[in-house]
């Protein structure tokens, strides 16, 4: 397999290009996404250059999040496979009804007469753009039956998971962390897909399990490296999707290490770490040598000020301390 180093952004761009080439029904709908000459090419330039080959499949809309997602649903119900772009995940609240009540329930409500193969891409995570442009919300969506929630953490995963998400017949919320767009990683030249609901062991270890999703997966891997130098063997698992959620890979690791910390960028209260911790407690109670550790953002909006924002968000130090805390139990 031939690989090359490309950015997370380019990996997403390749996935969109390949899927549009593969199937006529795939189109992209959103704000400022037009990727041709004079086009904005997406707030994070993910649709850059796509109009060269697919001019009529990049549909720029006004600022109408509800109708972007709702139109994607209606198009999907009639045979299209749209990809909707919501510029910042914070704005998804505007489209919440269409995502939760329409997209996620249509297959169920119609007993399978209609399905809704849509992908809603949104940029999450804090990069200093203040309280209404910085949120990472995942537990709201993993709470919704009928909706998949995917958070890639590497260019390889970004491309493979986006291709799978577009081909899936269910609605998928695809969250792209803003700090990852410029991160590079090796991606095969050849076509590949990654099944939804398959966790990845980022580094194997025997002493502690570290479950980390999205941008946090990279931080967790760094922390595992530091701890390895200090003689602690940490296994890092990236679930890659919160729905479907591959708990079996996590359980297997916990049965081996007996200690686990779960990390996500969402506010800690009722965040995805709460659900994962509860599932571990239910399934692996007798294996645990310490309470399940949890790392998340403090329960506050994300401030514009860098110092305040860093104080609120989880970082490598928080993960490091949480691991040491379960080890010391």
């Amino acid at each position: 397999m031939t690989t090359r180093e490309i950015t997370f952004r380019d990996a997403l761009n390749e996935a969109l290009r390949e899927e549009m080439a593969r199937e006529e029904g795939v189109f992209i709908i959103g704000q400022d996404i037009y990727g041709g000459p004079g086009g904005y090419q997406g707030a994070f330039k993910v649709t850059k250059g796509l109009a060269d080959d697919f001019e009529d499949r990049l549909l720029d809309t006004p600022m109408i999040e509800q109708t972007i997602v709702g139109a994607a649903v209606g198009a999907a119900m009639t045979g299209s496979r749209p990809v909707a772009e919501i510029m910042f995940e914070d704005f998804i609240t505007l489209a919440m009804d269409l995502l939760v009540n329409t997209a996620a329930k249509t297959h169920y409500m119609t007993a399978g007469q209609y399905s809704v193969p849509i992908v809603v891409r949104a940029a999450c995570g804090a990069v200093g753009v203040g309280p209404q442009h910085s949120q990472t919300w995942t537990s709201w969506f993993m709470h919704i039956p009928g909706l998949y929630v995917v958070l890639p953490s590497t260019p390889y995963d970004a491309k493979g998971l986006l291709k799978t998400a577009i081909r899936d017949d269910n609605p998928v919320l695809f969250l792209e962390h803003k700090k990852l767009y410029n991160v590079t990683g090796s991606v095969p030249e050849e076509e590949y897909e990654i099944p939804l609901g398959q966790a990845r062991v980022l580094c194997p270890g025997d002493d502690v399990t570290l479950v980390a999703i999205g941008y946090m997966a990279g931080l967790a891997t760094q922390v595992a490296g530091t701890l390895r130098d200090q003689g602690l063997s940490v296994e890092v698992i990236d679930p890659r999707s919160l729905a479907p959620l591959d708990m079996e890979t996590i359980f297997q690791s916990v049965r081996k290490t007996h200690k686990v910390v779960v990390v996500a960028e969402d506010c800690k209260t009722a965040g995805p770490t709460a659900e994962i911790a509860a599932l571990i407690s239910e399934a692996c109670f007798e294996y645990l040598d310490a309470p399940v550790g949890r790392v998340g953002a403090k329960d506050a909006p994300i401030a514009h000020n860098v110092g305040m924002s860093e104080y609120i968000l989880p970082d490598a130090t928080d993960i490091h301390e949480a691991v040491q805390s379960v080890v010391a139990w």
Partner: protein, 323 residues
């Protein structure tokens, strides 16, 4: 546009069917056989029937939670429709949807959007597929006066206009959103006056005159197919009932009396008598035939099994392995 005698009789028959079907469902609700409330389109039949008859079988429709006859005209079997309303296994959604989430994919009925504001964006998306694939089909989106005041109305109608989408927007203005009268809730008197804000034609028509509704929707459909974009049509009518939980205490008696004199079925019946299309014998014959159809639907539904409770967790996701 001339309307054939055959079509006039079809219009009349469907209006009678719509009324008797919903009266039957109302009675079943009062007998405790239908979970939740049941919403009728009694008094609004000319709008629901006239607009739906203007479609072909292949056109798409988003009906409202009233006017179940629209589903039947589109192609749904009354028996399976009633079964769904009763929550039975033989219903179109296997009992998961009920009256207000009813859909029938085989007749391109996209289903009711019970969070009313969702109908507009979904219609835009369905129309987008028709335009992109050049299918020669349109989308008819029906909604009430109450829903016309929701935010997605603005987003979606504007988008449908700038993209010249093949969609016909039909407002069933029955004067009330639950207990809130349109006169009190809207800054302007006519929903269709808003069409000018979207640079599309707007028509206010008598929603109790079935031939006017039919002709107006038919023309809007032709316009949409010609690539000239959407049309907003407002059918002024009156909700004679509401839901099975509502005795309408907020409606002035004079208003109820005035509109009951304009009942769409009575009016059309009179007109067809004058035209010599209907006589006493034919009226009885149609009434008997429709009653039989409703009785059969009721019987089918009541004899249909309840779905197994565990089926309540099926169809949450579509599995490519299974289907």
């Amino acid at each position: 546009m001339t309307i054939s005698e055959e079509l006039m009789l079809q219009m009349y028959r469907y209006m009678v069917l719509g009324r008797l079907f919903e009266q039957c469902a109302e009675q079943l609700t009062h007998r405790g056989l239908i979970p939740g409330a049941f919403h009728t389109g009694i008094g609004e039949e000319a709008t629901h029937v006239g607009a739906t008859l203007a479609l072909t079988h292949k056109d798409y429709i988003i009906p409202t939670h009233r006017g179940h006859v629209a589903d039947i005209i589109k192609g749904a079997e009354p028996g399976r429709l009633m079964a769904e309303i009763l929550g039975r296994a033989t219903g179109y959604c296997g009992g998961r949807g009920g009256s207000v989430h009813l859909a029938d994919a085989a007749s391109n009925n996209l289903g009711v959007q019970a969070v009313l504001s969702a109908a507009y964006p979904v219609a835009v998306g369905a129309a987008l597929t028709q335009k992109r694939a050049n299918t020669g089909r349109i989308v008819l989106a029906m909604f009430g006066d109450g829903a016309s005041l929701m935010g997605t109305f603005h987003e979606a109608l504007n988008l449908s206009a700038i993209w010249h989408l093949p969609v016909v927007w039909v407002c069933v203005n029955n004067q009330y959103a639950m207990s809130t009268s349109f006169a009190e809730a809207s800054a302007i008197a006519n929903v269709a006056d808003r069409a000018s804000a979207y640079n599309m034609p707007g028509h206010v028509v008598d929603g109790n005159d079935i031939t006017v509704v039919y002709e107006t929707v038919r023309e809007a459909r032709e316009r949409a197919l010609a690539g000239e974009g959407p049309t907003l049509i407002e059918c002024k009518t009156y909700r004679q009932g509401h839901s099975t939980f509502d005795t309408n205490p907020y409606k002035p008696q004079e208003e109820i009396d005035a509109w009951s004199k304009r009942d769409p079925i009575t009016q059309f019946e009179q007109r067809l008598r004058e035209l010599g299309v209907l006589d006493e014998e034919l009226i009885t014959q149609i009434a008997d035939g429709v009653q039989r159809q409703v009785d059969e639907a009721q019987e089918f539904a009541l004899n249909s099994p309840e779905p197994p409770p565990e089926a309540g967790v099926e169809f949450v996701f579509r599995s490519s392995e299974v289907e």
